[in-house]
Symmetry: none
Subunit: 227 residues, 4 copies
DNA sequence: AATGAATGAGTTTTCATTCAT
DNA sequence: TATGAATGAAAACTCATTCAT
């Protein structure tokens, strides 16, 4: 409103009291994620989280009302980030079959260091637990994204006529499987290639596979990896 | 309490005190499984397990040294049962491609009511935790079984030359995915068909697919489910 | 219902499991009362209560859902006991003026070792806090009892026409005051006598005072204790 | 930050930094009293006190070393004010019996909006806690004041020969009682009149009561409130 | 052997107090 | 000086495990 020196940055809330450590919430979220995605919820203690975040336990509770809230914030945050990443990838305007590859790469990369990301807590099953419901909703959005990409690929003739919801879950499941039980030798790109190869052979059309093979024209029989 | 024939008392000098309820261990294992496979380890309380088993809490501890031991017994038991089932299926002498179908059906059926079966506990990661190690070993055996079946299929020319370890994890992952997020409408056979179809298109050879299609010979282009 | 051997005692619940320590709830209530009536609610710790009761902390929580519930149980229990005592006293059929004396004696005796009995907790004021409401109700019942005794005394011509509700609160307040700030030398009977004397001079009629003086007849001017 | 007149900087070498807000201590004391006299010590949080005072939490600690010190300051301050008031009343040179009335009116008025004022802290019983000792001392001074007034009244023949210490506690107790449990309809003057009436009938002489009756001479039988 | 009452180590959470501006 | 963010000691409560029949 009042013209202010540009250098002054945005807001001018006339900070009083001890200044907040900048981006502390984000710092906590990040450090805590590293813990919560490597161990199950109940195996993680707040003491430990605080230590890992380099803050006092009270600070945790100043930023998040409870352990559960912190946990959910991490999960929702993570899933939102993954979704954003995938959406960006999908917006790139690639050929639909190529988009599938992007999804696989993005998703595998995301979970690479978050092997236990999806270990959700179930407040006594189906109890109309707002948080659990929200979690399910978020998860569903994610698979919808994949499903939609597959539907577009179907429309483009890159994927044959199958149930894209089920196909999306299969794809996500494949990725989870290879990531969860990968060995130290399994590199990201290798796994990406394998998953895309198998999945697209499984659900793709000849046209779709041709797109991925990167050979612009020509009607070979699509011998990809091996015979 | 109940008067018993004196003659019986004279004989059988072995059994003293209350005779153990026969097969109690199995009863517990079965009832407890229904709980442990529906909720996370730490969300389950022993009180609840005891109630579900229809026995006192102390009895639980008479048969299992700890909660963890009970949990692992359930897991190992389950995984052994699944393995046995799969082994039987594989021993049937079907064509390798057909064996893959049997694996999928058997595995999906097994997990149908055990959606959270694999939510294992991780005793502080890498801590040379004997149980966790054992768990990993068991789990590995299971995937090895699948892997071996795939290798046989490869040898038979039903599956192309791919990394069967990774393929096995993909297959298990696909099954987990479709099972975990299936809707009420998704029937077992339909999912089995879909998984097998996609997977075998993904990794199979034309010969392998032909086997599954049930048409003994002939060289069509293998349009299976849809175009 | 079914006639059972008298010796068998009441119930026959076929006790199973570790037998409960008999009257443990009462024991706890009693031991905890000694603590809660000598210190403020928030100054008392459950660890301490457990120790004083000679039980584990878990046992406290097995018998009372929370610290607050234990506290309230003690208070309600105490007030009920006092009321029962007073009701018994009032049922004795004494002359109304004499009943006042009984009330004073009973009440002072009850609070003699419970000087902080009435230090109730106020969950954020007036918040329709069921417990706080209940507490107020119980307290009101107690003062009603006194009030009714005074009303009977009024009807009998032993107390003059005054507001018995206010008089009851004054009497209770007097007792609280002398008890709370009594010295080590102040004996119970002496305080009872003083309170009754002052109160009955204050609210009584000549007839009422005569009753207390114990002189059955005669119409003197009622010089009691001193001029 | 803000440029200040150089000349000011040169003068006034004493005041450096931000000048203290004048009378801030008194402001705090007053606002905090409203909270501490309505809830128990442990139910009050410093955050809340700071908010009510309209200052930061740090400021509270700049003026009072601890929560307890603030609390005691409020208590001591309040009790001192009451004492001062009563002393003024007593210094007025009224007839002793009339002084009792002044005490009652002053005390009731003071506690009218401080119903929980007397919910004092009990530093762990007997632990030679300096503050608790001081509190007891202050409280004792207050009752001494009342006691002395009664002794003067005794000397003047307005109160009969009784233990004035006990009588003082009874009077204070009566006041506490009627105030604590008064209804919305109970007006101050009505309660003052009732308490004085009952108390002076209880401990006064005919002469004392006559003084209060406001009839300068004459020997009626002193029917005050009702027959 | 079976049982459920009793237990206390271990967790989450609160809140008086400190501290960086 | 005033402030409110940060802190961690302390307190309530849980639940796997033990124990007295």
């Amino acid at each position: 409103m009042t013209p202010r020196p540009a250098i002054q940055a945005r807001r001018l809330p006339r900070r009083r009291g001890r200044p907040p450590i900048p981006r502390l919430r984000e710092t906590i979220l990040q450090a805590a994620e590293a813990i919560f995605t490597r161990r199950q919820y109940h195996e993680v203690q707040m003491d430990e989280v605080a230590a890992a975040c380099g803050v006092g336990k009270g600070t945790l509770y100043r930023h998040f009302r409870s352990k559960r809230e912190l946990y959910l914030a991490i999960m929702f945050d993570g899933i939102a980030r993954l979704r954003a990443e995938l959406e960006t990838a999908l917006a790139a305007g690639d050929a639909p079959a190529r988009q599938v590859e992007r999804i696989v790469r993005g998703t595998l990369a995301f979970f690479w260091d978050r092997r236990f990301f999806f270990a959700l807590i179930h407040g006594h099953e189906s109890k109309s637990d707002g948080d659990a419901r929200e979690w399910l909703r978020q998860r569903a959005q994610l698979s919808s994204l994949v499903q939609e990409a597959l539907e577009q690929a179907t429309a483009a003739g890159h994927v044959r006529a199958i149930d894209c919801r089920i196909a999306a879950e299969m794809l996500l499941g494949m990725m989870r499987g290879v990531n969860r039980y990968r060995t130290r030798e399994d590199g990201l790109e290798r796994l990406v290639a394998t998953v895309v190869d198998v999945f697209m052979r499984g659900v793709g059309t000849r046209a779709g596979r041709r797109v991925l093979a990167g050979r612009p024209r020509l009607g070979g029989r699509g011998r990809l990896a091996a015979g």
